[in-house]
Symmetry: C2
Subunit: 146 residues, 2 copies
DNA sequence: TCCTTATTGAAAATTTGTTTCAATGACTTA
DNA sequence: TAAGTCATTGAAACAAATTTTCAATAAGGA
């Protein structure tokens, strides 16, 4: 079976909710899926703007929660006073290591992290929508400097 | 050997840094260790205020990073537009499950989470200061309601 | 095509967190 | 113990992120 594209998923989600599928929403979604990295609202806004789209930040702020709710986007971490996001659809779940000194972020995978989530879900009868694992510390390069 | 109290640890940290150990800082620390739950700046401020302490929010905002740096306090999650903290000294490391609907937070332990961190640390030559594992989803009660 | 009503952009408002600055007081040294 | 230095404090100003308001627009159903 063909995998649904993020656009289809989003449209379906919007419809099911009785909301309206607007070009602004689709443009934001498409742009986010072009960014293969973490992003913040400002970066997204500027990228859209540089391509001639005049989509307001208010609309971006309104759209992000929808994208998060339908599982296409995820809050990754809060740094420098604002939230950072990433798209997640089509990516393996992964964890983040963040260097507290140089701020570099590294992604890695470990199946135990989902295992723990799965077990917690079963044991407690909850429904897990998202797993976030973050390691904070100092990367090898920054350790040497000290 | 007697375990150092959080107050001693904090004083030691402050001294080593060449900073000054003020009553405001100690009062904040003591209050935080009276809260056996997650807290935010506003709650902390009000609790102090209700006890007659006139400590400004600016001072709280200035003190928190110190407490975090010496390992007594931890950022737990960012919700409702602001950060939530908890004291960690004397507690086992633990993970959080947060219900997206009722916002209840549940703590739990799983050693695999530290194991993963330890292995990442060794493999990549980094130094881990903090491990954060968060599960987001719907708790059993909220699932039923739907 | 018409109608209802959700969505949009712009601006105002709100909230969180940081910075400034003069007054205070913690710690060092004599 | 007194004196001097300079970090810390509170208050207020500031900055930035996010939300809300509101009138104009436009999506989707009839």
């Amino acid at each position: 079976m063909l995998q649904a594209s993020e656009v289809e998923i989003f449209r379906e989600f919007i419809r099911k909710r009785g909301l309206r599928y607007t070009p602004e929403r689709e443009t934001i979604l498409r742009e986010i899926f072009k960014i293969h990295d973490h992003f913040d609202v400002d970066e997204l806004y500027l990228r859209l703007r540089n391509q001639g789209y005049r989509i307001s930040k208010a609309t971006i702020y309104r759209t992000l929660p929808l994208l998060i709710e339908c599982g296409l986007v995820q809050e990754v971490y809060h740094e420098d006073g604002h939230m950072h996001y990433e798209h997640i659809y089509g990516h393996e779940p992964h964890a983040h290591f963040r260097c507290l000194s140089c701020r570099r972020v590294e992604e890695f995978r470990d199946e135990r992290l989902e295992e723990v989530a799965r077990e917690f879900q079963e044991k407690h009868g909850v429904q897990i929508k998202m797993v976030r694992y973050e390691l904070l510390g100092y990367c090898a390069a920054c350790r040497k400097e000290e």
